[in-house]
Structures are given as structure tokens and as C-alpha cells.
């Protein structure tokens, strides 16, 4: 294999000198750990194009995209209205970077934005402290599990069914690396399964199936018997905080959420925003960055700083509670602008619309012969729908340019005829009625077949 070195600022002499030092013969020797069949042998790329040809090529490609007029897909990634000011502000060159600034204190503006983000998250959740954000909801949940094991010095965690299946996978991966034991149980077995060996109980509400759990009761049940066991509450669409009781009011120990709903486009499933908040007593164990406000030694001016950094991996190495040393700066800024723009009343109005539109759809769908709403608890903007002819229903949606709901069989093999429907403020009455029409016509045909 010949490596082209056109873009690498080393000449052949430098390269062979360096190889001599480490005792290797060729650059390929550096990659000997990679199995041979995984190494790319040839890269079949067409020759270069001029700018105008390239644009034409890309336009042609973009025609292949199917544009839906309305979406009924949620399951962790949500279509909500994004006010124009969000993209306008985050696109400003002063802000347009995805990372925590290096030489952080030289970027007072960005630090202030992060500080304001932390503050707004604590206001929204009624938790004491929030960090500068993390990659997404799933890693925030896994970090919360790790943090709980460090606080309690116990290495077992209990996951309650209803957590997003992909989040569970991420938590499992973290557990594997840290030798933490986990167990996944239905909520009904919580009291039976819980014992003093557990560091934390992880619960999602509204859960993956759309149901709002009685979190307060669950906290009481756990704390009555095991006061030291921590409760980690996760949610995938925190717009529901516009109407549901906040995690802080429900004595949650660690609250995490996917913040994509706050002004970030669903794109192709990312990027997301990991929201992470906890009680003051756990401040020193919180993963990731924290921005604090301080005052000059000789003066009255206020400034912003990265604080409590001794917790962090770049100082503590293997002793740190987390290896996160950055944050999702641009996305957290989007969330900040979004929440400022919505305000307390706006977010409440939004949440009410989500519930009302969802209830409208649930009621209409439940009246169609063959369809059944499977949820037994109250729901927010998602619910489970059992369909008489799921394939036809999904095909009908597609033909009407409605992004179809999620087939639950993607995650749960046995749930063959069930879809997870998501309805937000973005779904107009007309589009919901079209969706109901798609369901109706999938009901008739299947009955005729029978």
C-alpha cells in the first residue's frame, strides 16, 4: 500500500526518521491492529467538478429527498416550531462554534450565554444546579447513572421499563466499561426488586410509550425504604415541563433530558442536547463543565469563569467522575434563545397544544373499527396505537406525504401491529384529519380482506 502524503507536512526523510525512533519499518505497521479485511484498499471516487457542476449534481441529489408536509414520528426526536430568532442568533460569528471555548475566560460573552443557559434550566426544572450541557439525552442519562454510583459508592443500578431503548443501550455500554451491574424491570416490580445494593433507580416520564408516570409516588416508595438510593428522572421531550410538575418539586435527585425539542431541528436525528441538573449537595460530583459568576478582586465588575474544574478529567484523569470536558455549546445556546423566546406562558401554551391535539387524535382514532389506544395512563404528545393493518396504514401515510409513526417492532419484536404516534403543535387540524383518514382507509380494506 502506498500512502500519499501530499497534505501531510512531513517529507519522506522525516517520516522514516520517526519510524526509526519507534522501531517500525513502514507507516502501515502503525495500523497492524486493524484486521486486514477492514482496511480500505481503493477509494472509488469520480474526478473533481467545477463549482457550478457540483451545485447541479447536489440539486439532482436533493430531488431524491421526500418532503413530508407533516410528521407523526417522535420517539426521542421531535418536530417543534423553531422561532426564526434562534438560528439568527446562533449563526452570529461570535457564537458559531460547537464547543466550549478554549481559553474560556477570554470568551466572556459565550461564558455568559452558558451561565444563562444553566440558570434557565434550573428555573425550568426547579433543580438547584445545571451543568453547561452534554452531548445528548442518552449520554446524560448514562453519566447520571455513573454519578449515582460514585455518590453512593454502590455499583448497581435499576432501570425501569419505559426508558428509550436506545438510551438503555448507551447506559449498558457505560456500565460495561465501569463494571456497573444493571437490571431492567417493569415498574410493577420496583418495590420487590429494590434493595440496599442499588445506587439509583432510573425512570423515564413521559416514558417511551408516551405515558406520564406518577414520579412523585415512585420517589416516595423508593425513599421510604431506601433513603440513600438516588432517583434519576429522564425525559425525551422536555417541552412537557410547560405543564407537568417540575422534577425539583418531585424531589428528583438527578434530572436529565434530551433538549433537542428546545429550538434544535430534528435533522436526521441529531445533534441533540444533553440537559443535566441535580441537587446542590451533589454539585461536586456533577459531570461536565460548570460556568460560575464571580467578581474581580480589585473592583466591582462581574465576570464569568469555568468553575469547580478540579472535578474534571483534564485535571483529575482517572479519578474524575466523568471524562466529559466540553459541552454542546451551540445547541445549548439554541435552547437558551428558544426558552427565552417562548417564556413561561409560551411554553405552557405549547404544552397545552401538544396535549389537546394529541387527545383529539386519540379520540378520533379510537373510534375507528379495529384501532385501539393501548395506553392506560395519561399521555403527553405520544401514544401507542394498535392497527388492524399496519403496513397499509403506513403506506397510506406515506402517500399522503405524512411522515409515518414509528413501528414499535423496530425495538420490540413482539409488538408487530403497534405504532408510536407523536403529535405536536406542528400538526395542524387538517394534517391530523388526513392522518385519521389514512387510518380509516387502512381499516376498511383490511376488513374487506377478512
Amino acid at each position: 500500500m502506498v500512502f500519499k502524503v501530499d497534505f501531510i507536512p512531513h517529507d519522506n526523510k522525516t517520516i522514516s526518521d520517526m519510524l526509526d525512533v519507534i522501531g517500525l519499518k513502514s507507516i502501515e505497521d502503525l495500523f497492524q491492529d486493524i484486521p486486514n479485511d477492514l482496511i480500505l484498499k481503493t477509494l472509488n471516487l469520480p474526478s473533481g467538478l467545477s463549482e457550478s457542476d457540483l451545485l447541479n449534481e447536489l440539486k439532482k441529489l436533493s430531488k431524491k429527498n421526500k418532503i413530508y408536509i407533516s410528521s407523526f414520528l417522535g420517539a426521542g426526536c421531535y418536530y417543534h416550531y423553531i422561532p426564526s430568532i434562534v438560528d439568527f442568533i446562533i449563526s452570529r460569528s461570535e457564537f458559531y462554534t460547537s464547543y466550549t471555548p478554549y481559553q474560556a475566560e477570554a470568551s466572556q460573552g459565550f461564558l455568559q450565554a452558558i451561565y444563562e443557559y444553566q440558570s434557565i434550566i434550573t428555573r425550568l426544572t426547579a433543580m438547584d444546579v445545571a451543568n453547561a450541557s452534554m452531548y445528548d439525552g442518552s449520554t446524560a442519562l448514562a453519566e447520571a447513572a455513573l454519578m449515582a454510583t460514585i455518590i453512593t459508592r454502590k455499583n448497581k443500578i435499576l432501570l425501569v421499563e419505559g426508558i428509550h431503548p436506545e438510551y438503555i443501550e448507551v447506559v449498558k455500554t457505560y456500565c460495561w466499561g465501569q463494571e456497573i451491574e444493571y437490571k431492567l424491570i417493569p415498574l410493577s416490580l420496583l418495590e420487590k426488586e429494590l434493595n440496599e445494593e442499588y445506587a439509583a433507580v432510573l425512570i423515564q416520564s413521559p416514558n417511551f410509550f408516551g405515558e406520564i408516570e406518577n414520579v412523585e409516588d415512585i420517589v416516595k416508595t423508593v425513599k421510604n425504604t431506601f433513603p440513600k438510593c438516588l432517583i434519576v428522572h429522564v425525559m425525551t421531550d422536555p417541552t412537557c415541563l410547560g405543564i407537568l410538575r417540575s422534577p425539583g418539586e418531585q424531589s428528583i435527585d438527578i434530572f436529565v433530558a434530551e433538549g433537542q425539542s428546545f429550538g434544535i431541528s430534528p435533522s436526521f436525528g441529531g445533534p441533540g442536547l444533553g440537559i443535566f441538573a441535580t441537587k446542590k449537595e451533589f454539585l461536586r460530583k456533577i459531570p461536565g463543565r460548570l460556568v460560575g459568576k464571580t467578581r474581580e478582586i480589585n473592583g466591582e465588575r462581574e465576570g464569568f469563569i469555568l468553575t469547580l474544574q478540579a472535578r474534571e478529567q483534564h485535571i483529575r484523569r482517572e479519578k474524575a467522575s466523568s471524562n466529559i470536558c466540553t459541552n454542546q455549546a451551540l445547541c445549548s445556546l439554541a435552547a437558551l434563545i428558544y426558552l427565552l423566546c417562548m417564556g413561561k406562558n409560551g411554553l405552557k401554551e405549547l404544552a397545552v397544544q401538544n396535549i389537546q391535539k394529541t387527545n383529539y387524535a386519540k379520540e378520533k382514532l379510537s373510534k375507528i373499527p379495529g384501532y385501539k389506544i393501548l395506553n392506560t395512563k395519561p399521555t403527553y404528545n405520544e401514544f401507542l396505537l394498535e392497527c388492524p393493518n399496519i403496513d397499509l396504514f403506513i403506506k397510506n401515510c406515506d402517500e399522503l406525504d405524512l411522515l409515518p409513526p414509528l413501528r414499535l417492532s423496530k425495538y420490540y419484536n413482539h409488538m408487530k401491529n403497534i405504532v408510536l404516534v407523536c403529535i405536536t403543535e406542528m400538526n395542524s387540524r387538517t394534517s391530523i384529519d388526513k392522518f385519521i383518514q389514512a387510518a380509516k382507509s387502512a381499516s376498511k380494506i383490511s376488513m374487506e380482506v377478512k
Partner: protein, 131 residues
């Protein structure tokens, strides 16, 4: 080198001091250790009732520039912690051998006392680290 090295206590190579009183050991960090850490801002001590093996990590001392671990000089159960230093961690800087003591341990293996080092040996250790 102007550190204090009291003669009535034993030391560890990890810079803790131990005052032995029958089967109880009072533990703190040395004057040299607090100098190395600088201004101490936070101390995390174990809960009373917890038991640890010798050389295991029982807590943390955080300064403005570093984090140090509190290493158990001897196996045993924590029977008392210095609650004063939670509010005033700077006591460990100003009085490492007095008001800045950390915790009391009920010794479970008396023979482990032999692993502790004398004042003279500890001074030599600090001298070599300084050099």
C-alpha cells in the same frame, strides 16, 4: 524547609499523620501536604460507620489547583469526623495538626501500626520529594 513535623505522631508515605490513642487513630494531613495543595476549598470525608481497608481511598481534599485523596493509614471503622472543616476547610491549611484534623478511626488490625513511619523517616521522605 519550614514545615512542622510534630514528634508525637506517626506518618504515612502518602502524607497523612496518625495520632495513636489505644485502639483509636486520629488522622490528618501533614503540614507539607497542605503546603503542596495550596488553598483548600472543599473536603469530602467518609460517613461515620463506614469501614475501610488500609491504603484505600476514604475521601478527598480539593484545593484551588488540585485534588488530593485521603488514604486510610490503617484499616478500621470511621467513628468520628471533623464536622468543623466542612464549613471551614481552610482550617486544614492553618492548623493541619490541630483544628484541621480529619477523622478518627477505630483500628481493626493493630499490627498495621508497624507500617507507619517515624517523624525522622518522614522528614527524609519530604526532603527527597523536595529535591
Amino acid at each position: 524547609m519550614n514545615y512542622k513535623f510534630p514528634e508525637d505522631v506517626k506518618y504515612t508515605k502518602t502524607h497523612e499523620w496518625v495520632l495513636l490513642k489505644e485502639d483509636v487513630a486520629i488522622v490528618g494531613i501533614t503540614d507539607y501536604a497542605q503546603h503542596q495543595l495550596g488553598d483548600i476549598v472543599y473536603i469530602e470525608l467518609p460517613d461515620v460507620g463506614m469501614a475501610f481497608e488500609r491504603e484505600s481511598n476514604a475521601g478527598e481534599i480539593e484545593s484551588v489547583k488540585a485534588v488530593g485523596e485521603i488514604i486510610m493509614p490503617i484499616s478500621g471503622e470511621i467513628i468520628e469526623i471533623n464536622t468543623k472543616i466542612a464549613e471551614n476547610p481552610e482550617l486544614v491549611n492553618s492548623s493541619p495538626f490541630g483544628e484541621g484534623w480529619l477523622m478518627k478511626i477505630k483500628i481493626s488490625h493493630k499490627n498495621e501500626i508497624n507500617n507507619l513511619i517515624s517523624t525522622e523517616e518522614y522528614i527524609k521522605l519530604v526532603e527527597s520529594e523536595e529535591a
